[in-house]
C-alpha cells in the first residue's frame, strides 16, 4: 500500500489501508523516542511551518517535537486575531509560506474546511492539525494507535466517545477512523450536543452515560468547552458532570480494564474525575507520547509523497 497523498486533511478521505500504513509507520517511529539520541535525519533540510490560528500548546508542541526528531527545521507562526480579520487571507499567508520554500504546513484553524481550501491553493504539503469542528486527524490517529497498542486490535472493539460531539473535530475524526478499521462506536452526549444525522456516520447514539460505558472497551472523553458557544443551549457544568462525568463509580459498572482516553487538556471535575484521569485505566499520558510517533509518521509520509510527486513531475 503506497502513500501518495501530499496532504493529510482528514480521516474521512482515507482508506483503511492508508490508515493502517500510518499506524504501522508510527510503530517504527515510536522506537526513535526511546533512544538516547532521539533524532533521525529523515527530514534533514526540510522546513515545517506550524501555522496556528487557534491557540493550542499541546498539538503545536507535539508537531514541533515530531518534526525536530526527524531533523526538520520548525517555524511557528501564530497570526494575531486582529491581523486575521483585517489583513492577509489564509491563502495569501499560505502562498507566502510556500515562497519561503517551506515543505510542510501544519495548519490549525478555527474555520472548518480551512485545510482543504489551503491545500487546493498550495503545492507544498498541508497537514491538518484541527479545523473548526471538522477534523483533527492526527489526534484520532494517536487515539487509535493507543487503542491498538493496548488492545492488540481495533477491529471489533467497542469505543464510546462522550462529550460535546457537535463541536468536536476529535470526535468526527475518531469516528471515521474507528469505523473504517471495523470498531463499533457509540457516541454519548446531551441531546443538543449531538449533531444532526450523525448516525449516518455509522455510530450508535445514546444520551445515557451508563449505556455508553456498558460493554465498552474504551471511552474517549472529550474536553467540554463551556466558554465556547454562547448560542447553543449548553448544559451547566455541574449538571453535566452529574449526568455525563466519568467517575470511578461509573467505571465500576463498566468492563474491567476499560481504557480511558482524553485528548486534553483535561477539565478535572467537569468531564472527568481526577481519580479516573490519574487512575489505572487512564492512558492519557501515553496518548501524548504516541502523538509524537504518529505525527512523525505523518510528516514523513507526506514528505516522501511530495518528493515522489516532484520526481515524477
Amino acid at each position: 500500500m503506497p502513500w501518495v497523498r501530499k496532504d493529510l486533511l482528514g480521516l474521512e478521505d482515507l482508506s483503511k489501508e492508508e490508515i493502517e500504513l500510518i499506524l504501522s509507520t508510527a510503530e517504527s517511529f515510536k522506537e526513535v523516542s526511546t533512544r538516547e539520541i532521539k533524532k533521525v535525519p529523515a527530514l534533514r533540510g526540510k522546513t515545517v511551518v506550524n501555522l496556528f490560528y487557534e491557540p493550542s500548546t499541546r498539538t503545536r508542541v507535539s508537531f514541533e517535537v515530531a518534526a525536530k526528531r526527524l531533523s526538520a527545521d520548525v517555524i511557528n507562526i501564530v497570526p494575531h486575531e486582529s491581523s486575521v480579520k483585517k489583513g492577509e487571507t489564509l491563502i495569501d499567508t499560505g502562498r507566502n509560506i510556500q515562497a519561503l520554500k517551506a515543505d510542510i504546513v501544519v495548519l490549525r484553524h478555527f474555520a472548518s474546511g480551512s485545510a482543504d481550501i489551503l491545500s487546493r491553493h498550495l503545492d507544498i504539503s498541508v497537514v491538518n492539525a484541527g479545523d473548526g469542528w471538522h477534523e483533527h486527524p492526527t489526534q484520532a490517529l494517536l487515539d487509535i494507535f493507543t487503542l491498538k497498542e493496548k488492545l492488540g486490535r481495533v477491529s471489533g472493539i467497542n469505543v464510546s466517545i462522550v462529550g460535546d460531539i457537535a463541536h468536536s473535530r476529535v470526535a468526527r475524526s475518531n469516528i471515521w477512523g474507528l469505523i473504517k478499521l471495523g470498531a463499533e462506536v457509540t457516541i454519548c452526549a446531551p441531546k443538543l450536543l449531538i449533531p444532526c444525522e450523525i448516525e449516518k456516520m455509522g455510530v450508535k447514539v445514546t444520551q445515557s452515560i451508563d449505556e455508553a460505558l456498558i460493554g465498552a472497551d474504551a471511552v474517549n472523553v472529550l474536553r467540554m468547552q463551556f466558554e465556547r458557544d454562547s448560542d447553543s443551549a449548553f448544559p451547566q457544568q455541574l449538571e453535566y458532570f452529574k449526568n455525563f462525568g466519568i467517575t470511578e463509580g461509573r467505571l465500576k459498572k463498566a468492563k474491567k480494564g476499560i481504557i480511558v482516553m482524553h485528548p486534553g487538556p483535561i477539565n478535572r471535575g467537569i468531564e472527568i474525575e481526577s481519580a479516573v484521569a490519574d487512575g489505572i485505566n487512564s492512558v492519557i499520558l501515553e496518548q501524548v507520547t504516541n502523538g509524537i510517533a504518529v505525527r512523525m509518521a505523518v510528516l514523513f509520509l507526506v514528505a516522501q509523497a511530495q518528493e515522489k510527486i516532484a520526481f515524477s513531475g
Partner: protein
C-alpha cells in the same frame, strides 16, 4: 431588417412550435410565417436550431451601483445576452438601495448608458433594506417600479411585512419574498443535516425557509396582495406553495438552476462556489423542485445571479460570501437537467424562463407575436461545452458549474431588434 429562417420556433404564448421564419423590422417583430422572402433583410440561418422569445430572468444581482468590482450593469447585461436573457430584474441590494425616486433615476441613467439588455428595477420594501420602515411604495410605483423586495434578507418584522403587503395591494405592486428566518438559519453555511455534520459547519435548516414562506403567503392571503417566493430550495416550500395555489392565493414562485442540478453532496469539498443562500439541499428536495416545475407549482426559473470577487470566495468556507453567478449558464443547465431528463418539454421550459416571469413582472415580453418587441434568441441545443472560468463575460467567475459539461449554446441574441450577441465569428458583442 433581420430575417431568421428555418428555425424551430417555440412560442408557447402563441401556442406555436413549428419551423417558421421570423422577420424583424426595427425594434419589432414584423412577421412570423413559413418561408418569408425579403431580399433586403440580413438573413440568419436557424436551420436545426431552436428559436425562442428572449429569456426573462427575474432574479439578478447586477451590483451596480455600489459594488462595481463584482459586476456592473454593462457586464451583467452582456453576460445576460450571452446566456440568451434579454430582460432582467435587478435586485435591490445595491448602494444606494433603490428605495426612493432619486435612487431609481440614478440607476435608470446607468441602464440607459450601459445596459445591453432590458433591465427592470426591483425596489426595496424597506428603506435601505434595513427592515425598519417601509419605502414609499406609492413613490416607487410612480417611478414605474411595480416590484419590491428586500432580497438578500427577509423582512423579519411580521407587522412591517403586513403593512408592506397592504401598501403593495393598494398600489398594484408585487412583493418578492426572500424567505429566511434568521433566528433559525443562525449563521449557517450549508444545509442542516448529515452534510453540516460531516463538514463541521453550522446548518441552515429547511425550516428557516419554509416557515417564512408560510408566513408571507399567509400575509398575502390576508391582504389579497400578490406574492412571489424567490429561490425556492426545499421540499416543504414546494408543498406549501402548491397548497396555497390550490387555495386560490395569488402566489407565484421561482427556483434557481442550482437547486435542480446540484445537491448538498456537491459542497462536500468545501467549494465556496457551491455556497449560496438558501443552500444546496438533499436529493428529496431536488426531486420536489423538479416536481414543482413539472406541475406548475414553481412558475419560473431565475438565476439568482450573484457575482462575487475571488477575494470574497477564496477564503475559509464559513467566511465566503453566499451566491453564485448564473446568467451565462442557466439555459444550458436547464436544457441539460430538464429537457434531456424529460422533466419539461420545450414549450414548458420557455414558459418557466420567459413567458411566466414576464407575466409575473407584468412586462410585455416572452412572446414572438407579430408587433411584439424583437427579443429573440437562437439556440443550438445539441452543442456541448465545458464551463470554464476564462470564458465568462461576467466580471466575476463564482460559478457552481465550473468544469461541468453542459448542452446547449446560445448562437444569437436579438434584443430590441438588434443582434447584441453572436457566438461565432469576430466581434462578439455589438456594444452600443
Amino acid at each position: 431588417m433581420i430575417l431568421i429562417k428555418n428555425g424551430r420556433v417555440v412560442d408557447p404564448a402563441n401556442n406555436r412550435d413549428e419551423i417558421l421564419d421570423i422577420l424583424v423590422d426595427g425594434k419589432k417583430i414584423a412577421k412570423v410565417a413559413k418561408r418569408i422572402q425579403d431580399d433586403a433583410a440580413q438573413i440568419i440561418d436557424a436551420k436545426d436550431k431552436i428559436v425562442l422569445p428572449g429569456l426573462v430572468d427575474m432574479h439578478v444581482h447586477l451590483r451596480e451601483p455600489g459594488r462595481e468590482d463584482k459586476e456592473t450593469i454593462e457586464t451583467g447585461t452582456l453576460a445576460a445576452v450571452k446566456g440568451g436573457i434579454t430582460s432582467v430584474l435587478a435586485m435591490p441590494n445595491t448602494a444606494p438601495v433603490p428605495d426612493c425616486a432619486g435612487h431609481i433615476s440614478l440607476v435608470r441613467e446607468i441602464i440607459a448608458k450601459t445596459g445591453q439588455a432590458n433591465v427592470y428595477i426591483c425596489g426595496a420594501i424597506t428603506r435601505g433594506r434595513a427592515g425598519k420602515e417601509l419605502s414609499d411604495i406609492l413613490e416607487l410605483k410612480k417611478e414605474n417600479v411595480a416590484v419590491i423586495s428586500d432580497d438578500g434578507a427577509s423582512v423579519e418584522s411580521e407587522e412591517l411585512m403586513l403593512a408592506a403587503f397592504k401598501k403593495a395591494k393598494k398600489n398594484g405592486v408585487l412583493v418578492i419574498c426572500h424567505c429566511e428566518d434568521k433566528a433559525l438559519s443562525a449563521n449557517g453555511a450549508v444545509n442542516l443535516g448529515f452534510t453540516s455534520t460531516r463538514l463541521g459547519l453550522r446548518g441552515i435548516s429547511c425550516e428557516s425557509e419554509y416557515k417564512r414562506v408560510k408566513r408571507d403567503i399567509a400575509l398575502a392571503k390576508k391582504t389579497q396582495a400578490c406574492v412571489h417566493i424567490a429561490h425556492v430550495s426545499c421540499k416543504e416550500s414546494v408543498e406549501i406553495i402548491r397548497a396555497a395555489k390550490k387555495d386560490g392565493i395569488k402566489v407565484t414562485s421561482e427556483t434557481a438552476p442550482h437547486y435542480f442540478a446540484l445537491t448538498e453532496d456537491d459542497v462536500l469539498s468545501y467549494d465556496t462556489n457551491k455556497k449560496m443562500n438558501p443552500p444546496l439541499r438533499g436529493n428529496a428536495d431536488l426531486a420536489a423542485i423538479k416536481d414543482g416545475l413539472g406541475d406548475g407549482t414553481i412558475d419560473a426559473i431565475a438565476s439568482d445571479h450573484a457575482p462575487h470577487t475571488d477575494n470574497e470566495k477564496d477564503v475559509e468556507f464559513e467566511r465566503a460570501e453566499f451566491g453564485v453567478i448564473g446568467l451565462e449558464t442557466e439555459l444550458a443547465v436547464a436544457i441539460t437537467e430538464l429537457i434531456i431528463h424529460n422533466v419539461l418539454d420545450w414549450p414548458a421550459l420557455v414558459n418557466k424562463m420567459s413567458v411566466n416571469p414576464a407575466k409575473i413582472l407584468g412586462i410585455n415580453k416572452g412572446t414572438l407575436s407579430e408587433g411584439a418587441d424583437a427579443d429573440i434568441i437562437i439556440v443550438d441545443t445539441d452543442k456541448e461545452w465545458v464551463v470554464k472560468k476564462d470564458d465568462f463575460v461576467s466580471k466575476s467567475q463564482n460559478c457552481a458549474f465550473l468544469g461541468k459539461k453542459l448542452k446547449g449554446v446560445v448562437e444569437h441574441t436579438v434584443c430590441g431588434g438588434r443582434i447584441v450577441y453572436r457566438a461565432s465569428g469576430r466581434g462578439l458583442y455589438n456594444l452600443k
